[in-house]
């Protein structure tokens, strides 16, 4: 009988360090898409708070530490890193194997991302726990700032290799820049 070996989306690709950024894979235990039914968002938020101590995030925001809820579009959020509690007021879909998550961290992280996405990533605009759906190169992504110089980029699993390639190439470009001497 065949034995199937589980591999992570970025297996064999990460981690790697390029110049002043580190790329590493994030592998949460579970990812669940939560889409509250009409008029149920407050009740769903209360239920999440009671079960996990985090609220349903407002647009463009992430909530929670450890387990997190990341807004992922109109009327939906991704619960990352925890089993999903019973939420009668929402549609909950297990997407654990659907996503690849890459953490990019380091002094040049925002500079690298700025080469790939049209988002305004200035630290005073895109703050800690801010999140956005946008594009990175040609790919639709979810991008969340998780630290002073740290971001998490999510893409559909099938795009993991392209994501790593795009980030690597951009990081190399930033690392190879020769700062003009004064």
């Amino acid at each position: 009988m065949a034995r199937l070996i589980e591999t992570s989306p970025c297996a064999g690709l990460l981690p790697r360090t390029i110049g002043a950024v580190d790329l590493s894979e994030v592998e949460p235990a579970q990812i669940t898409l939560i889409a509250p039914f009409k008029g149920q968002q407050a009740a769903v938020s209360d239920a999440l708070d009671a079960a996990l101590g985090l609220t349903f995030p407002a647009p463009n925001r992430a909530t929670g530490q450890g387990a997190r809820a990341v807004w992922s579009g109109a009327g939906q959020a991704l619960l990352i890193g925890s089993a999903c509690p019973a939420l009668p007021g929402a549609a909950c879909i297990d997407q654990s194997d659907a996503w690849a998550i890459v953490r990019i961290e380091g002094a040049d992280a925002a500079r690298v991302l700025a080469r790939l996405t049209p988002l305004d990533l200035r630290p005073e605009v895109f703050q800690q726990d801010h999140t956005a759906r946008s594009v990175l190169g040609q790919m639709p992504v979810s991008l969340t700032r998780v630290g002073r110089h740290a971001y998490e980029v999510m893409v559909m699993r099938s795009m993991a290799r392209t994501l790593v390639q795009e980030l690597t190439r951009a990081a190399q470009g930033v690392a190879d820049r020769i700062e003009p001497s004064i």
Binding site: N60, G73, A74, P118, L119, R133, S134, P140
Partner: protein, 87 residues
């Protein structure tokens, strides 16, 4: 070009898909005559000035929005969620 998504804020044009004039929101009644349906499906104004059209925030929040803009000045005047527009 940046469009002001009511959910996401000012975003780059490449995140959006352009659908067309917002007149498609005004669907004729099922029993309307052929002229009304012909106009709805095929006839579009080509306004010089303020216009309203539908955009889909495809690579963003996934919402349909109605953008008001000026075809003479290229000024973008505002946007609202289709969800909140009475049919």
């Amino acid at each position: 070009m940046r469009l002001p998504c009511p959910l996401c804020g000012d975003r780059d044009r490449r995140e959006f898909y352009y659908q067309g004039a917002a007149v498609t929101l005004n669907r004729p009644a099922p029993e309307a005559d052929a002229d009304a349906w012909d106009a709805y499906l095929h006839l579009r104004d080509n306004p010089a000035g303020e216009t309203r059209d539908l955009w889909y925030h495809e690579a963003g929040c996934g919402a349909w929005i109605m953008v008001t803009r000026n075809t003479l000045t290229h000024e973008v005047l505002g946007a609202e969620l289709i969800e909140g527009v009475p049919a």
